[in-house]
């Protein structure tokens, strides 16, 4: 069974600061990797995903993530955050080729960007 851990539960930073959120997964096979974001009062939205190819993936709103297979990690980064990046961020994986295709989520990281 797969599992996902996110290192930080809460992050507080100022506008223009850089952001990095850690995500590690555990699974014996090949996975697809996702970062979802949930803005206050809104539903889960996809930020970016990795299926194969270039391990550095770029998503919406200036976010990027790097898949490091040897470390089972998929950390999310943004060089300069804005107040509007205040949200909860979820890392998720699914096992490639699995019949049910379920997503396994990390515990989420609440990010507060101070203006």
């Amino acid at each position: 069974a797969q599992s996902v851990s996110q290192h930080n539960h809460h992050v507080i930073l100022s506008e223009a600061a850089s952001l990095e959120l850690g995500c590690n997964y555990s699974y014996g096979g090949t996975v697809n990797l996702f970062w979802y974001v949930q803005y206050p009062g809104q539903h889960l939205q996809l930020l970016l995903k990795y299926f194969s190819g270039d391990p550095l993936v770029k998503g919406i709103k200036g976010f990027e993530a790097e898949f490091i297979k040897s470390k089972f990690s998929f950390n999310l980064r943004k060089p300069s955050v804005q107040w509007s990046d205040t949200a909860e961020y979820f890392c998720a994986v699914n096992a490639r080729g699995a019949a049910g295709n379920k997503l396994t989520f990390g515990g989420g990281t609440r990010v507060l960007v101070k203006p």
Partner: protein
Amino acid sequence: EPEVTQTPSHQVTQMGQEVILRCVPISNHLYFYWYRQILGQKVEFLVSFYNNEISEKSEIFDDQFSVERPDGSNFTLKIRSTKLEDSAMYFCASNGQLGETQYFGPGTRLLVL
């Protein structure tokens, strides 16, 4: 842009009552999912559904839970006899093919008293 919709947004019910949570997946999607998030905890997979059958279910999805696609557009989750611990946010999701991005609805917040 097409969206997954869910109704109701909030539901309050008494313990032991039946509830039905409704979802309208994106119209050309074939795979449907329910997840839930108990306050302060992780988003957890409940069940996946394809071709009018359950593809996979978690340990949480016991006999009190059922899913149905009663027509060409709705996808429902029924909890037969609610318990206090069923209080959570329930999310519906859908995708067009296995492995593709799952698109989530806004959720239904269920409170069991």
